[in-house]
Symmetry: C2
Subunit: 159 residues, 2 copies
């Protein structure tokens, strides 16, 4: 069993400023971040380490342009189901996690049970995904919303 790091860390202004800088560009040098937040190398490094250990931030990643990979279609999928047994749910979650085209999956409150964000090459590829999904698990109703334009997409949280 993996020990989930769940320490309740208090973040002060310096921590938050560092997070902001790292979210903007994680490739910056410590000196540069230190300059931006009005501090010096060592404190910045100590806080980064602290926040990493506490699980406040995950590993750094690069954001890749989907179009460069030929992923030109983005769907939001609204799912209603009639099944709510743990058994069904486990199977459904496993299916979602296994599919790399699913970028986000949330269980919702209210009439709609789940929402997915799915990135695929085109409408045809979405249909392949959809058929595969409903063959794995029973769902009651599925609505796919096709994105025409990505107005905004950011991984940065307001710090």
């Amino acid at each position: 069993m993996t020990t989930e790091t769940r320490k309740p860390v208090r973040l002060d202004d310096l921590d938050r400023n560092i997070l902001r800088a790292l979210q903007a560009d994680a490739g910056q040098s410590l000196d540069e971040i230190a300059r931006q937040v009005g501090s010096s190398k060592t404190p910045v490094w100590n806080r980064i380490r602290k926040m990493r250990d506490a699980g406040v931030m995950g590993p750094s990643t690069v954001v890749v342009d989907p179009e460069a990979l030929g992923l030109e279609a983005c769907f939001f999928v609204l799912i209603r189901t009639s099944e709510h047994e743990t058994d069904w749910q486990q199977k459904f979650l496993a299916a979602l996690r296994a599919r790399p085209e699913v970028q986000e999956a949330h269980r919702l409150a209210g009439e709609i049970d789940y929402i997915l964000k799915v990135r695929v090459a085109n409408a045809r590829a979405y249909d392949v995904f959809y058929q595969a999904l409903i063959s794995e698990v029973r769902v009651f109703n599925v609505t796919a919303l096709l994105s025409m334009e990505e107005i905004k997409s950011t991984v940065a949280l307001p710090v």
Copy 2:
């Protein structure tokens, strides 16, 4: 005026493997990436530079745990509007881009015109956001879907 980098770059297998490694952890050393993809430092570095220059990948970032920042509520907002003049649209887009709690905004095909993903501290904070938004621009119908559980959330695209 910024020159939008829009070169159509062909990515071969080595490029894609490098992207996969960087998406998993952008903090790895070149040697380690080179080892993973079965190549050597310099070629890996050349391709990274090429892809950066071509805009295939953006700057590296860190993924921050929303709960650590006290952002415990996530809403998907479905918006219908009756207004479709460019003037209204410009104002709407500007409002979305200006609000840091909006993590994603897409213009959709079909009955629903827009979908937003909004991260806030709690339901109260969402209402503040919502009231502010509808006071800035007229919308016809708004449905907010509250996320109960984030089943999956990844920034990594299938490469």
